[in-house]
């Protein structure tokens, strides 16, 4: 709820600056590490947008994954089960992509 109300505040500001009459789409980037889920975003989006410039807008969420690098296999991998170790050889990897994004990338507006 709180995430969505701050998000909409920024979207409304940006829409106003762009002289928009309507926001058609909101493009977000949300990383795996942030643990923010689509259903809760959409639930509060539908609850909070009516009567605003973003009413009826599409909420597009691009997901970024946490990726790790194994120095032994020289390959990247995603987490499997309850460990960050390489699923192939068991080496402790390092973070290759942290999946920490929590970003409003752009909005598509009508003016």
């Amino acid at each position: 709820m709180a995430v969505m109300s701050y998000l909409l505040e920024t979207v409304q500001e940006q829409a106003q600056q762009a002289g928009a009459v309507r926001v058609r789409a909101i493009n977000l980037v949300i990383g795996e590490r942030a643990s923010v889920f689509d259903d809760s975003l959409l639930f509060y989006f539908d609850l909070l947008t009516p009567g605003t410039v973003a009413e009826g807008a599409r909420l597009n969420v691009r997901r970024t994954a946490m990726r790790f690098h194994c120095a032994t296999c020289r390959e990247n991998y995603s987490r499997v089960d309850d460990t960050f170790c390489c699923p192939r050889c068991g080496t402790v990897g390092r973070v290759a992509a942290d999946g920490s994004e929590l970003l409003i990338e752009s909005i598509e507006v009508e003016s």
């Binding site: 987490r79 929590l102 970003l103 909005i107 003016s111």
Partner: protein, 228 residues
Amino acid sequence: MTTIHTVAVGKRLLDGNDQQAAVNRARFQAADVLAVNIMASPGAGKTSVIIRTMEVLRSHARVGVIEGDIAGRIDADRVLAAGAAGAVQINTGGNCHLEAHMLAPALDALDLSELDLVFIENVGNLVCPTHWALGEALKLCVLSTAEGHDKPVKYPEIFAVSDAIVLNKIDLIDLVDFERVRFYESVRVLNPHAPIFEISCRTGAGVIAWGDWLRQQLPAPVLKRKER
């Protein structure tokens, strides 16, 4: 005629909160106060860590506490009884985390000029508090051994963003099948540098080492004053 165009935004989802956090941060800095945002599950021992830390820093820092809870003021009363120079309770009214704007009245109520260190005890939760900057200088994650060594894998964000990690209830480690090696391994993947302190608020084990480290993080003017 209607035109459609894309506006690049490139802002954090919580940009509004970040701006208020910057205002809070400036207030802490202006008063030479070290602000520590304590994040943990309910029952990990946040309040007990504050009380133990106050004991070891008693002659080094004047400590204030901002207690975030969904309801009640039990924790504020506990830290005042334990010697906090000031304590303010924030009731979030159902919110599962503190937000920067909630701190403004608490900062008005605490006399920052009479404090060196402020603990901000967040609402017990391993996910939401991590997204909300409050204006702190340090984020502290408290985990208790009873919660299990797998928590960094299940809740990576809190371990990735913390500046220090306290592993509490270390006296229980052999009773709760907490695998130390796996815990350290996972934390180090996410966060290679944050110091990890094993402590027990019940027995006092490890508390002095943790307190020493925290004391060294105090603003330079505070450290200088204490050396005199």
